[in-house]
Symmetry: C2
Subunit: 379 residues, 2 copies
């Protein structure tokens, strides 16, 4: 089911829009400058929305400055005390997230709904396997059916009030329950869904759990915003979320690396070369597929679909563009030459991320072969 469209500040979510990337600051929210610095870092990394915890009045008092200073819409994360949610909306937050299960009853949820209606804010109604409606938990347990029933009960209450600008989340720390609950809800409601596996854990496990759950759901068309919850800095959550959205085919355009895992055939320091190229191209926002391959087995052949790339040899490497050989260079010259080639490909395609001057690009890729780019279609 295509979800309804909602708005979070200037952003449109739902209705088939690209899923938005959320993360959450881990600074003390009362520390405005630290929180704003982290929000800016997350926005630079590609976050569309940033959430901040509002556990008390001190944090709530910081929200006016945080909301007005942030480059992306700010969402207040509130538990237990509905009055903090109301203060967050009044402070200019674009959204608030509450879990009705710990807010203390429907009347209090309605006070938050009224505040969002008045302030033009977006509400997230959060359902967590760990804090379900008691009556439903007693009847249905804490599995996907109970999570979905809880979400439907809360949404019925919100709908009855006439308010429409809200989304829901159905979160569990189990991948299976997260997937099953979100699927069930999507079959029964057009309210947009925020997806996430809660408390997914340390970096590798957390990305794996989130990617499996979100990958399955997004590939089925379920999910309007996502958060990858990791015990890691929020910028890492954003990087992981973007990678998952792109892997699922619903991400924003951007830089992608096709790089080999290295093996006994690799005779160059491929991880070092990859790290160097990544850091040189960190500012690139245009869609670009760059191959960094260790040897001829997985070189130009497997990377023909890349926009450009390098295949390593013995302390040298061969650059190619769209699978066509461009030049062979010693190891130390590969990263700068790849950067120049990349900026040139983007520029010739009409992108806006070209940094180097055209002369520099031509010079640096000049090798034993003419550096001309094949004039194939862009991606």
């Amino acid at each position: 089911m295509i979800t309804r469209r909602i708005r979070v500040g200037p952003l449109t979510l739902g209705g088939g829009a690209r899923p938005a990337v959320q993360t959450m600051t881990d600074t003390d929210t009362a520390d405005v400058s630290a929180t704003l610095a982290q929000i800016r870092g997350c926005a630079d990394a590609g976050a569309d929305l940033v959430r901040v915890a509002v556990p008390d009045g001190k944090a709530a008092s910081a929200l006016v400055r945080i909301a007005s200073g942030s480059p992306v819409p700010v969402i207040a994360d509130v538990h237990f005390d509905w009055r903090l949610a109301v203060r967050a909306v009044e402070a200019g937050c674009a959204g608030v997230r509450v879990n009705p299960g710990n807010l203390g009853g429907e009347a209090k949820l309605m006070r938050v709904v009224e505040a969002c209606e008045r302030g033009g804010a977006c509400l997230r109604v959060g359902v967590n396997a760990g804090s379900l409606d008691r009556e439903i938990e007693a009847r249905l347990g804490r599995g996907p059916e109970a999570m979905c029933a809880s979400a439907l009960k809360e949404t019925a209450a919100v709908e009855a009030s006439g308010f429409r600008n809200y989304k829901v989340s159905l979160k569990a720390s189990s991948v299976r329950d997260t997937v099953a609950a979100a699927r069930l809800f999507a079959r029964k409601s057009d309210v947009p869904q925020h997806l996430g596996v809660t408390e997914a854990g340390p970096l590798v496990q957390g990305i794996a759990k989130s990617a499996v759950a979100l990958g399955i759901l997004l590939s089925e068309g379920v999910g309007d915003t996502v958060r990858v919850s990791l015990t890691a800095p929020p910028e890492a959550e954003v990087e992981a979320a973007l990678a998952i959205l792109r892997a699922a085919g619903v991400g924003p355009p951007g830089l992608e690396f096709v790089s080999c895992p290295t093996c006994g055939r690799c005779k160059i320091d491929l991880p070092a070369l990859l790290a160097d190229v990544r850091s040189r191209l960190a500012d690139v926002k245009a869609p670009l597929r760059v191959a960094v391959m260790g040897c001829v087995v997985n070189g130009p052949g497997e990377a023909r679909d890349a926009d450009l790339g390098v295949a390593g040899g013995r302390s040298r490497g061969r650059l190619f563009v769209k699978g066509r050989f461009v030049s062979e260079l010693p190891f130390a010259e590969l990263a700068p030459a790849l950067e120049s080639l990349a900026r040139r490909v983007i520029r010739e395609r009409g992108g806006e991320d070209a940094g180097s001057a055209p002369e520099a690009a031509s010079r640096e890729v000049a090798g034993p072969e003419p550096p001309g780019l094949p004039s194939g279609p862009g991606r």
Copy 2:
């Protein structure tokens, strides 16, 4: 379709067996001691199978000692030269992987098949989007249909020879093509599949791409062995593969952390606590779900399904077992107490991973409350 059963050394793959975890060494294969050391590290990390590149005769000559010294079955990765594959089987490798697309014709593939038949080895017939059968590529391009048609053509040739102990892989660097090709093949053949997204890239992007592709396929019952290909050490590939299998509900039992992402509500150094607890429990192989939570919002409530855990407060933390409060301790005592509790839970469940003496465990968890464990059912 349930795949047929095949054997790689002492391992059974296919036929509904748990998907096996593969990785590949990045040492110089000719360096036997470095390669064996890395294989042992991968086996310790949980790899069921380890692959080594065999690009030349020097590498092939090392295989007798590598295959006999390895704690897990060794698979030789061979390109271009079928004679290296034959040598690998004769050297005692449990399997060989070739891509018929770069081997130089069916007659050469058949020489490898004969060697595997004679030596009792398992063959992997690899189909990569980058090295397809030329006739098929000319007719069908390089997409999933072409990959599946290539795989079916190769398997028909192998089947005709009477050999059955083989698997296939259909790899692309695109998640979409990998998923589509593996699905297509699984509908048409009972030959077991090795899954992987080739050249998935740097750590975060690589895990995300692999987890999305493998998560979708494994949740549909497709996949008998997996490799997560990362530009990162092979031990990291194993950790990622295990995390993906577990997330998809088909992994081996083991330790799982439910840990929160931290936010403005967290008043303890949660990443440090998590890192400490992880390193203390690194040897645990028993199934155990340990929650490491920053605050009361996501504390015992959301972690009730964990076997045990801690919820942080202001420079203190509360330990709980199956959601029941056990004791409150200062920050510095949390990690040792969690370790003791974990080993005790495993021991009382009859596991084999208990390390500390019972006295130590009882002593360390002794707090203001009696440390008795609830006697609920194990997981």
